[in-house]
Symmetry: C2
Subunit: 261 residues, 2 copies
């Protein structure tokens, strides 16, 4: 961040820090993670906000004093699977920030966890920071750009109130973990691993929107079960825990300013 | 692509196939690759098109009968290095397609080449197809989504006229190549390797804009020199070859319809 960038960010944040949070953008990767929240908050589909032809899905509604906007990148048009990963996540984050100018982004989703760092299946984490583990650019300064470390918006009161676990999140476009990924994840000091968080953080930082990351653990990366199998086995149950946590987060946010989080 | 998607694409392409190409969007990753083209075509900076606060750079101008728009993601605001890789490339591609509705995208840049597949330093390739090599998702169908294979817009006359080399392009966010990347690059049957192409192809396909990929080889991936060193050593000279090839491509495109490429 340049000094002028810092000043801009300070100005934007201070402007909205003194009034209650009004507009929330929830960014999710998979339909199975999103639909329970659509039902719970009785959101309705919004078709006009996004460009024509893309599979992105947007639902909106009001919960207590909050305008909730829930976005996910939808099913790949040719293959029919959820458009997971950093490219889709960054595009929907960009487009929905431009359209909605939200006060706060919540990136909610499932993640792999490291038992060596204290994670168990079903745990819900609030990430303290995000970084990439699969962008290795061994040229000075470019190496740091590749890692792309960004702090989540500081929310100590939220963390204390909800009794969530806290840990660093590492993001990559593969569900598995190569030895190179593992070395980078260790270097990132990560407790949880996903496929979108650091990309959402990048775009949120670019456009100066505060972002928090709520991630529920579906599988233990350093455990004995194969990741894909464990992920699919636990997805439904863990999504329920995620949705409960997101609801608690929204209940806590309701009526508060950014500086009270 | 769903049947309705195919029909939409056919309709869009046939609509513009019968008139000369007018608007070209050139997407580049690095300032060092872009500035020689800015100078050559005497382009002028356009500040109004892109959102405030982002480091993205847009230059515009007229060359022969073509409206040239040259975009690159600019220097990272906190680190000062070029914003390389798939996330930045997908964001600038998305934003500039939305703003400009170009007839054709040219993704121009440098790449690593495989000598085992016939590539040498200084070669300029027209990619026949793009795919990712660092998005491993070992769940049926998700695996294909991760690879994200997309054909370049077919341009047999351009290829013949300019005597460019042709080969498949594989994209990943690392400058180096892990054994897992290498296995995926071999599976992708790739001759050249870059950090943006498949992301540009993804967004171009999403928004139904034809795209071609002009890539000049700065380093031999399966050679003896370290990639980073060879890349930096050859960047300036190879960029000159790239700019010459882009000029030849524009000269060929001028006055032609998409169907004549």
């Amino acid at each position: 961040m340049t000094p002028s960038g810092d000043q801009l960010e300070d100005a934007v944040v201070s402007h909205i820090e003194d009034r209650p949070i009004s507009s929330i953008l929830i960014i999710i990767a998979m339909q199975a993670e999103a639909l329970p929240l659509v039902n719970k908050f009785q959101l309705t589909e919004e078709l006009s906000m996004l460009p024509k032809g893309v599979p992105w899905v947007c639902y909106r509604g009001i919960y207590k004093n909050l305008n909730i906007n829930l976005i996910w990148p939808g099913k790949d048009l040719s293959l029919g699977v959820d458009s997971v990963g950093t490219v889709s996540a960054s595009l929907v984050t960009y487009a929905s920030i431009q359209a909605l100018k939200p006060d706060l982004i919540i990136n909610a989703g499932t993640a792999g966890g490291f038992k060596a760092k204290g994670a168990s299946v079903g745990d819900v984490f609030l990430a303290s920071a995000c970084a990439f583990h699969d962008r290795r650019i061994p040229i000075p300064v470019f190496d740091m750009y590749g890692i792309g470390l960004r702090q989540a918006f500081s929310s100590p009161n939220l963390l204390k109130e909800l009794n969530l676990k806290v840990g660093k999140l590492s993001t990559g476009d593969s569900l598995d973990m190569s030895p190179q990924d593992e070395a980078s994840i260790v270097a990132n000091d990560a407790t949880i691993k996903d496929m979108e968080g650091a990309a959402v953080a990048y775009v949120a930082d670019l456009l100066k929107v505060p972002a928090i990351f709520v991630k529920a653990v579906t599988d233990i990366v350093d455990g004995e079960k194969p990741t894909a199998e464990e992920f699919l086995q636990n997805l439904v149950a863990v999504t329920a825990a995620l949705d409960q946590a997101v609801t608690q987060v929204l209940d806590f946010i309701n009526g508060k300013c950014l500086s009270q989080l």
